[in-house]
Each structure stands twice: as C-alpha cells, then as structure tokens.
Symmetry: C2
Subunit: 405 residues, 2 copies
C-alpha cells in the first residue's frame, strides 16, 4: 500500500489544519493509503526531505479533533513559486526522487491559487513522465478568491471575525456624541469578499456606514463628500475599507502615501487606512482613527465558524479520497446547492481552472455608488459564518496541537 504526503502553503488561516485533519480522515477512510506523511514548510521543506509521520502523531479521534481547531499551519508554510520544467527540471526530478523514496502514491497540497499552480505543474509533469503519483489540491484562503469553488475554507471564519468585530467596533465608536471617523482596514488585495463581510454586522445590530471594495474604483473626493452629512450631525462614522481599493486608473489608494518620509528620510508605505485617516483629518479636522484587523482576522480560532471548519475537513477528506482512487490534477471544491436550508456538495475540479485566477465580487452585489453591498451578498455570506467552535483549552486558555517545526 502506498503512502500519502500532505503539505500546507501560503498564508495561514483558522481552517487550514481542519483540512489537514480531513486529509488524515480521508486517507484512513479510503482503505488504500498506508502512512500519511506531512511535508514541513510546503514544497520547500519537502525538497529538504523534511517529512514527519502524521498517522502516528494524530492516531486518536481526540488528537484529530484538536488539530481541527488549531489555527495557522501546523506543518509550517512557504511562499515558493515552482519553476516550469523547462526552466528547471532538476527540481522536478528531486521531488520525484524524494516522493518515490518514501513510497508516496498521493500528494495533497493545501493552499491558494499559487499553490494550485504547483499542483497543476506537478500533476502535468508526473503524467508526461509516467510517474504514478496522484497530485490533488485542497483549497485554502481567507480571501475567498479561488475560482471553481463556491467559497474557500478559512474564509467563513475570517468573515465571522470581521462581522463580530465590526458589530463590536461600531458600538465602541458610538459612545461619544462627537463627529468622528473610524477607518477599519480589512485584508484583500484583489478581492473584496472579506471586507464585504463587515456588512453582516448589520444583520442583528449595526454595522459600518460605508464599505469600500477593490472591485469598485475608489473616488476619493466622492468618498470625502459622503462624510460631510453625518459629521455635520455630530455622528460617529465607521468605514470598512479593503486594503486593495484602487483608483479609477488602477493604482492602490494606499500607495499614494508612499511619498511620505520618516525622520530618517526613509519612504513610509502606510496602508490605505492610515492614508485615508490623514485625508479625512485634513478635510474635516475631526477625530479620525484607523484600525487594522491585521493578522488577527486570519488566525482568530476562538471565533472560528463551525461551518467553515467542517467544510475544510470535508474538502481535505475529498482530496485525499480522490487521490487514493487515482484522480490527479484536480482540486476539491464546494458546490452550493441551496441557501435555505444551506446545503453543499463536495466535488473535484481541474486545477488549471483555478491556478493563478482570481474570483472577484460580482459588480451586481455592490451598490451602484460603491459604498455598500446588496442583500444577495448578505444571503451568500450568512450561512458561512454559522456555528460556534469550542476551542480545546487548558486552565481556560487555548491548548493547540503541538508544532512540528
């Protein structure tokens, strides 16, 4: 019986270890996999032969459950762009050698669109060179920008963090009866899905006043003018901005502040939040703050969505099962069957359709003036943030699965 190798790549998320747990589960269910090995730090660590025995480390259901609720990538990650075989075939030969030396029959790579590029290249090379190793992708990204899947694992938990945090921030920002603006910067260079999730704060309470996504060209003057009315009424304003909002000419808004220099004459690359903070202060002279949700939004395991972790697990399992049955060059994906009740099915899709592509927010889900999202967006998002996950705790504090690196 051949073994399975799994690795994690790209930015960590709350759900990427749930997918890993799913891979372990799927490999066991298949009845066709011997040992499951984990490659440390993605393809980069595999090239350094850094393999660990995951079957032994997560032998019990309890250990698997703890892995499922552990944030960030337990195997470590990398940002490594696999060259084409034409550019550097030696890398491919090295990978084949290491995989064959460990009797690997299936390789599952968990990651975003860059990682799916790796899956596409490796599976094509293996096919061409008659290397009998199935290569499968399992999706992961808080950005939710992968094509061919209704949504991506990690997104639902990040969206839940954004929704809850905006509900709390709006309450916090409203306590003083003075004109003020709070600009909250959310991750997403190219796609606005996560920033759009701020609108969920409106479902049961009160959310941000304006939501600005990268998909809608940002008109600074129009934006500043929209603040005038609430500020004249001495109302606090809360704005959700995606880090990737762009002007009509396609320049990142945050980059406009790149001319700023510090005391040492160095260029300062402030984010879009800090940039807008300055512009609003100049225009209105009122109290202005910028807040970055920063790394917290992608690793807040304490606020994970149960729906997200369960789906992440199922996708890992789907990828492992399909690989064990000989499927290669495919990514596990989610098809949404219905919103009420929320039902999905798990499929696989050719990885070339996913690699290096970006799924943007549809223009119809953004309000015409670009300062909010439609009910369709809310209906899409709402099922993804459902369900409380109880973290594994010790003395009332989080106790995660042990690290391998």
């Amino acid at each position: 019986m051949k073994n399975l190798l799994v690795a994690q790549s790209g930015g960590p998320t709350t759900a990427i270890n749930a997918t890993l747990a799913g891979v372990l589960h799927g490999a066991r269910q298949s009845g066709k996999v011997g040992t499951v090995y984990g490659g440390l730090h993605g393809i980069q660590g595999i090239l350094q032969q850094k393999l660990v025995n995951l079957s032994a480390a997560f032998a019990t259901e309890e250990e698997l459950q703890r892995l499922k609720v552990t944030p960030a990538a337990i195997l470590g990650s990398c940002r490594y762009k696999l060259p084409t075989p034409q550019a550097d075939e030696a890398v491919y030969k090295a990978i084949v050698e290491i995989l064959q030396a460990n009797n690997i029959g299936v390789f599952v790579y968990i990651g975003g669109n860059d990682s799916m590029d790796t899956v596409a290249k490796l599976s094509a090379y293996f096919k061409q060179n008659k290397v009998d190793i199935a290569v499968m992708g399992a999706p992961k990204t808080i950005d939710n920008d992968l094509c061919e899947t209704d949504h991506t694992p990690g997104f639902g938990s990040a969206a839940k963090y954004v929704a809850f945090t905006f509900a709390e921030l709006v309450r916090d920002c409203h306590v003083y009866p003075v004109a003020s603006v709070t600009v909250v910067e959310v991750m997403g260079r190219d796609a606005g899905w996560l920033t759009a999730s701020a609108a969920l704060a409106n479902v049961a309470d009160k959310g941000p006043d304006f939501i600005c996504l990268p998909e809608h060209p940002f008109n600074e003057e129009a934006f500043l003018q929209k603040l005038a009315a609430p500020l004249q009424q001495h109302r606090p304003v809360v704005v959700a901005v995606s880090e990737g909002i762009k002007t009509a000419t396609g320049a990142y808004v945050g980059e406009q502040s790149a001319n700023a220099t510090d005391a040492f004459g160095h260029k300062q690359l402030a984010g879009v939040g800090q940039y807008l903070e300055k512009r609003i202060k100049e225009r209105y002279g009122c109290k202005v703050r910028s807040v970055q949700l920063n790394l917290m939004q992608r690793c807040a395991a304490h606020l994970a969505s149960a729906t997200d972790l369960n789906e992440a697990f199922e996708l890992g399992s789907t990828a492992a099962l399909a690989g064990a049955q000989g499927t290669t060059g495919q990514m596990a994906c989610i098809q949404r069957l219905s919103n009420t009740p929320y039902t999905v099915s798990y499929q696989t899709t050719p990885v070339e359709k996913v690699a290096n592509q970006v799924k943007h927010v549809p223009k119809e889900w953004i309000t015409p003036d670009g300062s909010g999202v439609t009910q369709e967006m809310i209906d899409y998002l709402l099922p993804l943030v459902q369900g409380h996950v109880e973290p594994v705790m010790e003395n009332g504090l989080p106790s995660y699965a042990p690290l391998f690196y």
Copy 2:
C-alpha cells in the same frame, strides 16, 4: 421612595454594561429605590437633562441578561472633568437641581479614576451643602490601574482577548522558517497590566518572546541586542509592548518618532509599535511587522470572561445597594480572598483613595531584565480570564441591547 440615577463615563469596555445591569439588580434588591434612570453620555448628558427610564427598558431578566453581555457603554460616555465648586459652583447647582427635579436619592457613576474624581467632588459638595443624595462609584477600566480594588471590571475580558490573541498570533507568526519580528502594541499608557496578560498565552501553548511594560524603563539598545540571537537562528520573534513604555528619562518611546513628517509636511505621531518596527528593520533588515490590538481589545464581547462580567455585575449591585442604604463617597471594590479556589468579596472604599491615582504593576512581578513577568503575575491574572460567555445572537450574529442615543 426616591429614584436612582446611573451613568457611564470614560473609555468603553466589554463589562461596563454588566455593571449597569448590576446597578438595576441592586436597586431592585434594596427595596428602597423607585425608578432607575440612566443619564446619557455621563455627567455631560445629565447636565443637558438627558435621562432615560432604565427600569422600564430592562424590566425582564432576559433583557437584563442581554444588557450584561452587550459591549461598550449603552448609555454613551463622556470625557468631562468636573471643575471644583470654587471654580464653578453653577455646575454643581445645576446638577443638584436636575437630580432633585427627578427625585434622585442615589447617583451611581461607573468609570475609571477620572470618574472617581467626579464622585469624590460631588459627594463632598452634597455633604457640605446638606443635599440628601448618596453618590457612589463603580469601577471600570481595561487598564486595571485603579487603587483599592484587587482588579477592575473590563480588565478580565480585555486580558482574555490579549491572551487568546497572542496565542493565535504566535502560531501565525511561526509558519514561515525565516527571521522575523512582530511587535504587538497593547493598550496601557501608565500601567502594564494588560500587556502583561500576553504572558497567559504561555500557560497552555506558546506566548510572546518579550514583554515590555511601562513600569520598567525601556532601553532600546539592550532590547535590540536581545533580538540578535533568535534572528541569527532564523527564528520568528513576537514582542508584546505596552503603548506607554518609556525611556529612563520618562519620555514615551513612541514619541521619539514625532519628528517624522508625511508628504504634506505634517508631523506623524506613530505609535510605539511602528517606531520599533522601523528601528528593528534598520538594525537587522529582516521582515518586521507591527500590529495594534487597538479598539478590539476593549470591546471584544465575543471573548468576554464570565468571571469579569459576573464581578462587574456584582460591583454594580454593591454600589446601588450601598447607595440605597445611605452610603456616599465610596467606590465598590473587589477584595481577593484566595487564588485556589479563586474567591473574592465585594466591599466599598472611600473614593478619595482611588480618584486620580494609578496602580502600577509591582516591580517584583517583572523579570529583572524587564523582558517578561513572573509566576506571581500569572497566578494573579489566571482566575480573571476564566469562563465562556455565550453572546445573545440572531441568525448567528451578535444582537446587543438597543442603544439609547
């Protein structure tokens, strides 16, 4: 039967509405209070006669429970320094008139050390002028810097947020096997209690490598040198810094960056996190990030400590009961009786001992080199973050008590 007036002041917290709920509960328990009124936006709104009927708004146990788990100040807040009677007696006369017009027999003010200054001044003035209104304080601050109470409501929940968030951030920062530094800035201008809570992340998993508090003079050169060893070993480093760390001469470290100018020639007041980010980058040229926990740390109701909310409730109740029995010029406070099992008693203390004072972290609870905290600190903090609070939800999203303003 006379009525009770309650108001909230200073920065919002996760627990300040739990104290308000406790005031309502205590007033009912006393059998000596008619209607409970809330003053909007602290003493400032009271002076504008902005009073609402809380007894009617929170008539049921269910409504009271929802209020208890709602973050930020439901009555709104203010930052208003009451002048002395010598400077402006008219303000006092106006307050007396408004309170008497509403048949108020007890006034409870929920806030930090500035608010306790208001309680001290008002109660002294009322005594001197034979105004038969009891004035009581109920403590509140995430900074935990009030004297005469073992700890303050709002702190336990903020500390829990800091502990969980550091556990998650450390996991996130470790996924790439490269030298990197993440500087996480935590609130606390004068006292390091909240920053010290980052050490709790170590209890069940892994916390920050260095913890820098305002109570220990910050030696920049020594700090930079401590980073050398882990960075040479290509290890990610996570640092918790209090926003208020100071040099040996007492200058805020963050203020040293005040010479920076932006593209418009304006001074930039970057925080200490951004300042250290630049200095570390200059010295080591490695990947450096700064993260601010910002407003999230004071309003994260989704991660509230049950211990904190229950104690906040009891302190509100204690203040209301004592006021109804004629006690005046006192603040409700917590006395810790034992750590294991954790037991406390609720008392009152003369408010003059609290007003305008700051309770610092004891020097003995900081490691001699100023880069961490001792086991005594962990033992002190651990009971305060215990217990999960289920938020009131609607469609899986937080549904808070309605706002009055």
